[in-house]
Symmetry: C2
Subunit: 295 residues, 2 copies
């Protein structure tokens, strides 16, 4: 195998067509350069330069090899730069998970900030429910999640991005939609209810149960995604408690009503979460510049 020094030597001689000048350019003397080229030719297995004792010229093989040699040197020069850029988080890939609902509220502005802070980093977006995001962050398939509590504070660090109110989603023209005041507990105590799954949407389930007097006998469906929930409301299957950002889904046939107390309280939280052992330099740089470390 040849060496990079031999390639550099060959390129210099091929361009100067003169061993002495090429040696000067390489800050060395002519004899070792001659031997370098000889070794290179031996390694390649063919003559690259035709030298009669007066002049030097490229053989056809030498001409082709010159191209390859230049490509090699260029690649060799670029590779460390790329590596350093990635190590310092200025380049690379950032894999962000987000829930369907967060996609309609915070994701857009967040991506704008990301593009500003680390413009050369490719962002890989994946719509995932909170549980899948946690899993992804643990196994390293994901760098940053936009998810809801709870999560293990020892493994994950987080930053509260967003608080919002809970709303009551009702079918268009529903009797409650005619109210001019916020909905109160008594208003929905007899309504058929589309409820969050206690296993797959634990956060919403617990939140609703904690904050509102739910009649479990009224539950007609149990679903895990807010989008599904709103679709079922549109299909007049019942009413549902959804985060304010669900209003941004733009589905026809649904109205969203404020619930008494919720507008000030805004109990629904969305967090940016990440694995404490920051393995992706791009994420490290992003968090630094977003000043997310203080929490």
């Amino acid at each position: 195998m040849f060496t990079f020094d031999q390639l550099a030597g060959f390129i210099a001689v091929a361009e100067e067509l003169h061993f002495g000048r090429a040696a000067e350019r390489l800050n060395m003397t002519q004899p070792p350069l001659s031997r370098q080229i000889q070794k290179l030719e031996k390694a390649i297995g063919t003559e690259l330069l035709e030298r009669d004792n007066r002049k030097v010229q490229l053989t056809p093989a030498g001409g082709a090899f010159l191209e390859e040699a230049k490509r090699l040197m260029a690649l060799a020069a670029r590779a460390p730069v790329t590596a350093r850029r990635i190590a310092t988080g200025r380049s690379g890939v950032l894999r962000i998970g987000f829930t369907a609902a967060s996609g309609f509220s915070i994701l857009g502005p967040l991506l704008e900030e990301v593009a500003e802070i680390i413009p050369d980093v490719d962002v890989d977006l994946q719509e995932l429910v909170t549980g899948e995001q946690i899993e992804g962050l643990l196994t390293g398939r994901l760098d940053l999640g936009l998810a809801r509590p709870p999560f293990d504070r020892d493994t994950f660090d987080s930053h509260l991005l967003y608080r919002e109110a809970m709303m009551l989603a009702v079918p268009e023209g529903h009797r409650l939609a005619r109210l001019t005041r916020p909905v109160e507990d008594a208003d929905f105590k007899d309504e058929p209810l589309i409820m969050h799954s206690p296993t797959k949407a634990t956060y919403f389930y617990d939140l609703v149960v904690k904050l509102l007097p739910i009649q479990h006998a009224n539950v007609v469906h149990t679903v895990s995604q807010v989008l599904t929930m709103v679709s079922l409301v549109a299909a007049r299957r019942g009413v549902a408690f959804v985060p304010h950002s669900a209003t941004l889904l733009g589905l026809k046939g649904v109205e969203f009503l404020p619930i008494a107390g919720m507008d000030t309280e805004q109990p629904v939280e969305l967090h940016a979460i990440w694995n404490r052992k920051l393995e992706n330099p791009a994420l490290r740089r992003l968090l630094q510049d977003l000043e997310f470390r203080a929490e």
Copy 2:
């Protein structure tokens, strides 16, 4: 700058994620391999591998650099092969010049042979008159010419490809076309004549003057290319002496008549010619396999 050995070492460790096994794969011991990687990292300017004393894993920068390293090694492995292929004439470029007339006769079959003998060589075809071909062969812009004598036998080697008769081209329906015997000297002594240029088509000019009793007073045009000549005949400007291969041009409005004696004599020669100092290995191989050296 790093070395190819360091790259190979890094690739092995990155793939095995274990210094000992990687060293084994490289037929060396573990300690120098460790130092190799350290030097590589120092040369790159960033950590490529994360090793706690229990396990080894790639950093993001290391992952990216692994790709580059593999590309470099692949390129480095291919370059000498390419160079050797070119040096042995099995790859590369062969630049062939040809005259318009030869393009209609011998060029096709010749290219078929070329494709058979050196299939991976790119053929670069250029339509040039004999003089331009000579020039190209001298300056190295051309490897092989299909041209007509004379040329300098000291500089050029050649091989007679083709002999052909001279024909008389006449406009369609011309009185001589009604003859049932070959045309004789007396038949065209009063015909308006389209003649070869004595400077740009020396070969044909000399040949015609030598073989036939030309009335120079009859010359109405002097042209350098056979195609032009035949076009002028079709335009009824006169008659012309052209090589038999001109019949292959397929122009309408022209008839080609045999000339007494010419059918046996076939005085028009087409040669393959090349510079004796064979600089293109592909040409050397072609000539060997075509057995053109004997002449």
